[in-house]
């Protein structure tokens, strides 16, 4: 009788493709499907898919904080909403409306808000950070809601959709297909940029803050400065999602700064799997699809948030990694 060796010496079967190649093949396949989708899907689902991508971008931006830096933000609606109102300002002030100006205004507005929020809230950790971001978003909600002369108050602002244009090159009106492709391009680009940033030394420092903040500080990293940059980065991409949403729906409303949006952003993250960047997009799709199905099964009046809340709690308890949690290590390699 031979004694089995203690360690498994048989070599692990090498995958023939490198990790990188598999990632890019997977990415291309998903991209190809999403590009073809609007040509196949009926109008309603086309719009639905575009919205999922926008909400996914918002959730992905908040994943930088939740998943990578270990700070749960309950105030992402502020960045999202200020992106919307920034775009609205550009589209109402300049005639003809310009997409580039809308993007610029929205991003500047959300970056300013993010700087303000980041400066104060990063002094605090854990629960205190969550509460402070929540209260900051509520401040902006109150300001926008009550400043009726400028923001339209409760009714919000309506505007025309700008054409898809690069000055001096071309200018075409958006159709629902080009809208989808435009949003898809922005979201995919954001994903690649954020993935690159999270793999960079900067992203590594953020992850080390998540794992052990005192030690990171002891090594000599200025932790608070890193956190401020992380919140700003996150806010910037949330603002980008806000601009996209404003352009798609042609209005800006205070409801989108309300706390509920921040809460849903966190739900998307937890459902999809934090710390994966794509997880939140999947989570947004899962959440919105469930909501749509419940609405169709039981009618529009059905309080869909009750079953979704139950599913959310059950997932926190039994599936804390989220839908894509199993792939977390692989996606971050």
């Amino acid at each position: 009788m031979t004694i089995a060796p203690l360690d498994n010496t048989t070599p692990i079967k090498k995958t023939r493709l490198s990790h990188n190649a598999v990632f890019w093949i997977g990415f291309s396949v998903v991209m190809a499907l999403l590009i073809i989708a609007p040509l196949v899907l009926p109008e309603f689902w086309r719009r639905f898919l575009t919205e999922v991508l926008i909400w996914g971008l918002l959730a992905m931006s908040s994943d930088i904080l939740i998943g990578y830096t270990g700070m749960v933000s309950f105030g992402h609606s502020a960045f999202f909403g200020l992106g919307m109102y920034g775009a609205a300002a550009a589209l109402l002030m300049f005639s003809p409306p310009s997409l580039l100006l809308a993007l610029a205004f929205g991003l500047v507005a959300s970056a300013l808000v993010a700087l303000f929020v980041a400066y104060f809230s990063t002094r605090l950790r854990d629960i205190y950070f969550a509460i402070t971001t929540l209260i900051f978003s509520q401040i902006f909600y109150v300001i926008i809601f009550t400043w009726t002369e400028v923001t339209g108050g409760e009714n919000g602002l309506n505007f025309r959709r700008p054409p898809l244009a690069i000055p001096g090159l071309f200018s075409v009106q958006f159709t629902s297909e080009t809208m989808h492709w435009f949003v898809l391009a922005v979201v995919a680009g954001s994903y690649l940029i954020l993935r690159r940033i999270m793999h960079s030394p900067f992203g590594m420092v953020l992850q080390s803050i998540r794992e052990n903040e005192p030690r990171t500080r002891a090594i000599g990293y200025p932790v608070q400065r890193y956190k401020i940059v992380a919140v700003m980065l996150s806010g910037l991409f949330a603002g980008l999602a806000g601009v996209l949403y404003a352009v798609q729906n042609r209005f800006a409303a205070p409801d989108f700064i309300f706390f509920l949006i921040s809460g849903e952003t966190v739900i998307f993250n937890v459902m999809g799997g934090i710390g994966t960047l794509v997880g939140p997009i999947v989570g947004a799709g899962f959440f919105l699809l469930l909501r749509e199905l419940l609405g169709r099964l039981f009618g529009e009046q059905f309080p869909y948030l009750i079953p979704l809340g139950v599913i959310f709690i059950v997932m926190i308890i039994f599936l804390p990694q989220g839908l894509l949690g199993f792939a977390r290590r692989w996606l971050n390699r």
């Binding site: 749960v72 309950f74 104060f120 002094r123 605090l124 854990d126 629960i127 205190y128 969550a130 509460i131 402070t132 929540l134 209260i135 900051f136 509520q138 401040i139 109150v142 300001i143 809601f145 009550t146 706390f259 809460g263 966190v266 739900i267 937890v270 309080p303 869909y304 948030l305 009750i306 979704l308 809340g309 139950v310 959310f312 709690i313 926190i316 308890i317 804390p320």
Partner: protein
């Protein structure tokens, strides 16, 4: 001459009225915040569903009042039912999360708050309900007829908080709660059933929120979104007063309510909320551990 002009321009009567208003809302807020701070102190759980428990208490008050017509019975029933509900919520959602990252408990209670809020909307509809005041006597305060009921709310809230404090200080189970707050592991080792103390603390906090909901119901309409406004204020109070510090929360509740009441002399109540936000920001900047606690060494 200058001084008298300035003194005359200050609306003293309004300031006095707003002081009374501020103390009344401050006591209600203190009642909500002390439940919140109890739950936080004992198990590091920030209860996002606290505002919804407050709202649900008010609704149960509406229902019981409609069937029996007795305000005090409504107050008692709402407190008991919501306390039981709180215990059930704690057992179902928070107990499995013991030992996990405290942030997961925020998420779980947030899920609970979504469920409760939408249940209320579904069950009672979006139209605000009214709770009738138990007595309608008024007294003259300058040009106003001020209802006695408001003063009674303040007194009753103070009585509940006082009773709770005595219970924590001298009651056997109160001592269990304080022991668990100080050192969970040691309390367990001394034979205190820590999981049940957690459940009981959550139930007490929920009951206090429900009681304040019923008490506050007559002043404003009862609707399904009232929870969020109050839980935000209570969060501010708990942070300004120092997390997990009962006395600090009460002081901060009155302080912030007074400031908001004075601010609403000049601006609309919706904008007066910003004053408490500013207090919060200043606190975080200069005294992140809380205004009403001794400076940590």
């Amino acid at each position: 001459m200058e001084l008298t002009a300035i003194l005359l321009s200050i609306p003293w009567d309004q300031i006095l009225i707003q002081t009374v208003n501020g103390v009344v809302t401050g006591m209600i807020l203190a009642l909500i915040a002390s439940g919140l701070t109890l739950i936080f102190g004992i198990m590091d759980v920030v209860n996002f569903a606290h505002g919804e428990l407050f709202m649900l208490g008010a609704y149960i008050g509406v229902v019981v009042l409609a069937t029996t017509g007795n305000f005090w019975l409504a107050l008692l029933m709402a407190t008991l039912v919501v306390a039981l509900l709180g215990a059930a919520i704690q057992i179902a959602t928070l107990r499995p999360l013991i030992g996990r990252d405290p942030l997961t408990t925020i998420l779980a209670t947030f899920g609970v708050s979504l469920i409760l809020q939408n249940y209320a909307l579904w069950q009672f509809g979006p139209v605000a309900r009214k709770i009738q005041e138990p007595f309608t006597g008024r007294f003259n305060l300058f040009y106003l007829e001020y209802p006695w009921y408001r003063l009674m709310i303040a007194a009753l809230s103070a009585a509940i908080i006082g009773g709770f404090w005595l219970f924590l200080k001298y009651g056997k189970y109160g001592i269990w709660i304080r022991a668990t707050t100080q050192d969970r592991v040691m309390a367990q080792a001394m034979g205190i059933p820590v999981p049940w103390v957690h459940t009981a603390a959550f139930a007490i906090g929920a009951g206090m929120a429900a009681a304040s909901g019923v008490l506050f119901g007559p002043l404003v309409g009862v609707n399904h979104t009232m929870g969020l406004d109050w839980v935000l204020k209570a969060f501010i109070v708990v942070v300004v007063g120092g997390m997990g510090n009962l006395g600090g929360s009460i002081a901060a509740a009155i302080f912030i309510s007074l400031l908001e009441a004075y601010a609403s002399i000049w601006v609309s109540p919706a904008q007066a909320v910003i004053v408490s936000f500013i207090v919060l920001i200043l606190t975080l900047l200069f005294r992140p551990t809380g205004l009403f606690v001794p400076t940590p060494k």
